[in-house]
Structure formats: C-alpha cells, structure tokens
C-alpha cells in the first residue's frame, strides 16, 4: 500500500542547469507523477552572451571569426552560412574550387559531430567502454582537422568570397587513408548500435515525436529525419556543389531516440561518400575574392549544419559593419519540442532525450 501511494504522488523535480547527465546548462522543471514526466518547463539564458549585438560592432571579416566561435561542434557551419549570406547580398561568385573545399570542411565536421553525439548517447546509458571507442574513432577525424586545417575544432576554412585553405596531394592521401579507417570502424559501430540489446532497450520507443509534431514545431535535421520527415537543406534547397554530388538523404521511421542516433550514424557514411567524391576531383581555380566591398542591403542564407538547417540573415548599410546579423540554429526549435518528446517518459530517460536532439545551448542563446 505504502509503495503504491508513493508511485502516484506528484511532485516537481528541478534538473540542471548544472547536472552530471546534461552536457549543457539548461534548467528543466519536471512535473512528475511517480516516475513519469507529466510536464516540462524549460528555463534558458544561462549562457546568453549578446553575440548578435557584438556582431554589429565588428567588421565583416572579424565576424567570420566571431561566428566560428558561436559553438564548437558546428563551428564550420556558422562562418560558412554567414559568408553565404554576405555573398548573396554582395553578389559575390565563389569559385568551384572554393565551393568544393567548403563542402569538404563541412562534411569532415559533420562526421566528427555526429560521432560525438552518438558517443554521448552511450555515455548517458552507462556504456562507458562504447563511449570511449566511438570517441576514439572520432579522434581520427579530429586528427584530419588538425592536420589539414590546423585546429581540432575551429577550422578557419571560410572567408567572405571563398576559402582560406587548399589541400595538396600529401594531405589528400592522408584524408583518404583516414577515411578508410573511419569507415571500417563506423560500419562496425552502426552494427553495434543497431543490434546491441542494452542500447535498444534504453533507446527504442523513448522520446517519441510524430511526423505531424515535427512539422508543427518546425523541426529540422536528424530529429526531423528520425521521424521520417524529409528535410535536408543539402537536398531540398541545394547550395554550393551539393546538387552535383551523389549522396542520400537518410531517414528513419522509429520517431524515437534510437532512430535519431541511427540517422546520425548512417549520415556519417554519406559524408564520407561525399568527401571521397570531392578530394579526387578538386577543380582548379582561385580560392577567393580578397577583401570585397559589401553594399547596403539584406540577404538570407541557409545550410545544413550537423544538427539541421542553419539560417542567417544579414542587413547592411554600406559601412564595413553589419547593421543586423541574426542567426537561428537548429537546436532553437528542437528545445521547444522537448515538451512533446518528454511527455510521459521516465525520469531516467530525460537526459537521454535531451541528448537525442543533439542540443547546443551556446548556439541557441548566442
């Protein structure tokens, strides 16, 4: 009798902003009935830095670096999309070589970012040795970034009008060798994530969100694709040379945490496919336009970051600083949809569901 009473008791449980199972500072007020979550209230703003305002105090070139530091995991997507927006505004043509190199940087980052997220999944369910292994595989991509770009996270690949780096034959061979190793490991990892009983037990039918809700909440990225909603900016509104590349949009139908992880894992293989197509066919040409003038106007641009559609809007007045720079990261909508995913879930699954949207607070709050 005593236990039954205890189970049905409702109470509220604060979680975060600093918590062992949360990777990022976000405060959840959970309304519980026993072990079941009945309502979620999200309080954010712990890492709001006013970066959009800061961007209006710095010139267009400094902002390339500033946007790269919004977040570390999608640190290449930010300057890329910012540059795309500014180039749309000024009508700057980017050479095919620079476009190919931009895609190369994007896909290397995507592979590393996705591996990081699925590694954290293993970490949260307490599968530490798998976590270590996936991080170790990701380390191969980290080495690629460090060797080709000179840094493990901030690649500094993009600049307005093109890219700042090129690759020589030696580096191409190094990338190829690393890809072969990564691909072999990822195939093994996919097999483990698809069949391991411990992972399946913890992740299937957890954090469900239907395709209707995905559309209603405007979700993007692996969260949308995990619920079989076909949104991938690289396919739906191609930019750079993505329309000339052969790769598939990955979707899963499970609508749960497991589906999202599988989308990410399978996408790393698509990214590797893209990188392979590019590195042997980098066109000849100029790398960029040096120091272009940015006229007054407004422009939008979007790209597919590892977490989904990244959107940039820029307004200028003819000076060398933007009048307004706004960006919206995929996590922005995904946070809000947690109330759907967490409805009636177990308290123990909360951090797992949070991780399944691959959240980025520093991106969301800017």
């Amino acid at each position: 009798m005593e236990t039954k009473q205890h189970e049905t008791k409702s109470f509220s449980l604060p979680l975060g902003p600093i918590h062992v199972a949360l990777e990022e500072p976000m405060y959840f007020k959970l309304e519980l009935e026993g072990e079941r979550v009945k309502h979620v209230d999200i309080t954010s703003g712990h890492v709001h830095r006013g970066m959009e305002l800061l961007a209006t105090k710095r010139n267009f070139f400094q902002n390339v670096v500033l946007t790269e530091r919004v977040c570390s995991l999608c640190s290449n997507s930010h300057p890329l999309t910012y540059c795309l927006a500014v180039e749309n505004l000024a009508g700057i043509q980017v050479s095919p070589k620079a476009q190919a190199l931009r895609v190369l940087a994007e896909e290397i980052k995507r592979t590393a970012s996705h591996l990081f997220n699925v590694a954290i999944l293993a970490h949260i369910i307490g599968y530490k040795s798998l976590f270590m292994h996936v991080m170790e595989v990701r380390e191969i991509m980290q080495d690629v970034k460090e060797t080709v770009y000179g840094n493990r996270m901030d690649l500094a690949a993009n600049c307005i009008g093109g890219v700042k780096y090129s690759v020589n034959l030696e580096l191409i061979e190094f990338i190829e060798k690393s890809l072969v190793r990564t691909e072999k490991h990822i195939k093994e990892i996919i097999d483990i994530y698809a069949t391991d009983k411990m992972i399946l037990r913890r992740t299937t039918n957890v954090g469900r969100i239907s395709a209707e809700d995905v559309i209603k909440y405007g979700l993007v990225g692996p969260v949308a694709r995990g619920s079989n909603v076909r949104i991938d900016t690289r396919k739906t509104a191609p930019y750079l040379i993505y329309d000339q590349l052969d790769f598939d949009m990955i979707t899963e139908t499970g609508c749960d945490v497991h589906s999202r992880a599988m989308v990410r894992l399978r996408e790393t293989l698509e990214s590797i496919k893209i990188i392979k197509q590019i590195i042997r066919n980098i066109p000849e040409g100029e790398l960029n336009t040096l120091l272009p003038h940015i006229p007054a106007g407004e422009a939008m641009a979007r790209s597919e970051a590892p977490r989904g559609e990244l959107f940039y809007y820029v307004r200028t007045d003819g000076t060398d600083m933007p009048l307004r720079l706004k960006w919206r990261v995929p996590s922005y909508m995904n946070w809000d949809a947690l109330e759907v995913m967490m409805k009636d879930c177990e308290v123990a699954d909360v951090s797992l569901i949070v991780n399944s949207i691959d959240p980025c607070v520093s991106c969301t709050e800017r």
């Binding site: 954010s44 703003g45 709001h48 006013g50 959009e52 305002l53 800061l54 209006t56 105090k57 710095r58 180039e87 749309n88 009508g91 700057i92 043509q93 980017v94 559309i215 209603k216 909440y217 405007g218 739906t236 509104a237 191609p238 930019y239 750079l240 407004e298 422009a299 939008m300 641009a301 979007r302 559609e309 959107f311 809007y313 307004r315 007045d317 000076t319 600083m321 009048l323 307004r324 706004k326 919206r328 922005y332 909508m333 946070w335 809000d336 709050e365």
Partner: protein, 214 residues
Amino acid sequence: MSQTRNNVFDEIKNTFAQTDFPPLTWTTNNYNNLYAWLKLENPSQLTEAAKILQSLQARLCTITAYTEDRSNAAKQKAIAYHFAIHDILFCVTVQIYDKETLEPLAVPSITPYFRNADWNEREFMEMYNIKIIDHPNPKRLFLDERLDAGIMTQLIPFSSMVHGTGSRNLWEQVMLEKMGYVPESYKAALQEPEFTKVEETKKEAPKPQTEEKE
C-alpha cells in the same frame, strides 16, 4: 528550375496577387536559390499574411527584430519574418512604428499559425521591447525577469562602458614589459580603441551608467 519549384513559385505568386498586399519582390543567388520579399504596410496585416503562408504550407525559419538605423537605436524598429516554402525562402518585413509620430506599434502574435514562433516572439519581446498582442505564453525566454526588456537596443560593449580603459591599461602593461616604458604616442593612440569608435559616432549613444556600476 524543377517542376515542383515552378508550381510552388506560381502558387505563391497567384495567391499573393489576389491579396491587397504590396507586390512581392523576387531575387535569386548564385546557387539558383529563390527568395521572395514582401513588405507589409503595417503590423495589423501580419495575421492575414500568416494565414496565407500557413495555407501555402510554409515553415517558419525564424524571426528577426531589428532597428532600422545605427544612430537611432531605440526608435524605428522593424521585424523580418523568414519562412521556407519548398526550396523558396520567403521574407515578410514590417515596420512597427507609426510613420508620422514614430510611436511604436504592437505586433499580433503568429504563434497560433506557427507553433515555433513562440520562442522567437518571446525573444524579441525581451531583447527589443516589442509589444506582442495575444501571445499564448508571454514569459521571459532568456532574460531574467529582473532585467528591463529592450536590452539589445541599450547594451553597449564593456570596453565602451569603461571608455576603453581596460584595453588601454592592458596595452600599457604589455609595452612596459617589452620596452620598460610606455611610449607617449602609445598613450595618445590608446585613448580611443578601434573597437569603440562606432559608439562615439552615435548621435544618441546611451550614456554609460557609471554610478550604477559603483
């Protein structure tokens, strides 16, 4: 252009041709992405525009609030709503002040039509102090309740607030370490750091509230 895009393009064009809205402007970029721009005359038209866009199965990408002019930070605000319809980006811009008196106007919420407008609207309410009509959940998103709304039009960089003294002291220390003294030209040049120059040109730059700091 693909067949689907042509259809979507025609549908958008025809739908908006039947309304009283100003004509759409179309632009394209180097990757053949298509952009539509609609400038509304006043915020009360927003609800109607939102209804039409919802019927076109648009997805709200985000909402940007901004001040129209660098020098007139607090007064003339506008909002740009960014939608994606198929592969077309659709931008609806509206000025939210009275054209004669420059008094701010309230904006109707579009959250009933686009669920994900919730966070966006809450963000510009607190960052730009914009009044929203009938928001379903009008509480703070990022800012603490104790802070005043409209912080994005008031905020000034720390270096400007302290008149660049932080940066001046720093560089003087560096020169002391390197040369044993601070060259006179250095002292003069560091009076006004590069970073704060914009603030100085502002006509109505907000005064740093030093007494509050102390």
